[in-house]
Symmetry: C3
Subunit: 131 residues, 3 copies
């Protein structure tokens, strides 16, 4: 069991942070040729996802649409005013599996791994684990 | 391989049921110091998620918004009339990983584990597994 | 570590393809009595989910609603014009765990496993792995 915590400082209220290189480095250091890595986000207003790592406008479009999917309804009762972020956290999800084969992450040509901030800016953590 | 089925009776059409204590108890009984637990929901109109375990108004706001995200369109053709629930099941997801470290679930300060009922009230099951 | 890549040719722009039998066959051939299988989709405009395997109208209703959830906004800036598909990929998710017990997939009565095409028609792949 190898585990590592990475710290992420976000600068926007809604933001996708590319963490692919951190995950690759962790997998390399763990020196596992074949296995499965878990990324777990210990926050309730953030998430993790895999999506396009080439054109940065994809992130921009994704955040635009996610805000439409989960608006801040005036009917919300949670006093902190960030219920929209809690909803996005559950829609995108707080964990992601990544396969490792022949000492490399199994990712498609265009795939990268993104920490998703939905209630920033904040100091956040992601837990990387190989079991 | 330790496996346990927990039974959940829901009382509402849409409801989030806190199952954190059941999962903690299962992990404790399995006596695994470090590993990974899977929660799998064997239903197509329910789901499992991790979200805020402190203020109950978060659950209320989440369900409010999820109903807006997946309304019952008049164009739906499935005769049972619960297509909105099938959609939410796939959006939230029917499985969730939970890490275990030093004999404890790895959860953030505010995180709890919730069974999500989207077509209740019904008698439901969640499968807990450590591989 | 058993791994298999299955090839999927989609014929529609948005489509759910039942891959349950492929996954069952892979699990049988791997001859694992108890364990966990991962389905990973190496694409950024596709996904994998578990949902109803009985009435095909459920798939139709799900795709109808998912298009409403993620429309093609005129404000999108990604030049390829498929941002709606990237968003659905992250909402549904590019990986899915399936438990195996007593040489069988652990699935509920109505559950099947579906490859989700959101930007087809295309030739796609799904990676099946047992760790």
């Amino acid at each position: 069991m190898d585990q590592k915590i990475i710290n992420i400082s976000t600068s926007e209220n809604k933001q996708m942070v590319n963490i692919t290189d951190y995950v690759k480095k962790f997998a390399k250091e763990a020196n596992i040729s074949d296995g499965k890595l878990t990324i777990f986000i210990p926050h309730t207003t953030a998430a993790v996802t895999i999506n396009e790592n080439a054109d940065p406008s994809v992130k921009q479009d994704m955040l635009y649409s996610l805000k439409k999917i989960s608006p801040s309804y005036k009917e919300f009762s949670h006093m902190e005013g960030n219920s929209d972020a809690h909803i996005l956290s559950s829609i995108i999800g707080c964990s992601q599996d990544v396969l490792i084969k022949d000492n490399k992450l199994v990712l498609g040509t265009w795939q990268g791994i993104f920490f998703c901030e939905f209630d920033g800016p904040r100091n956040r953590r992601a837990i990387l684990r190989i079991d």
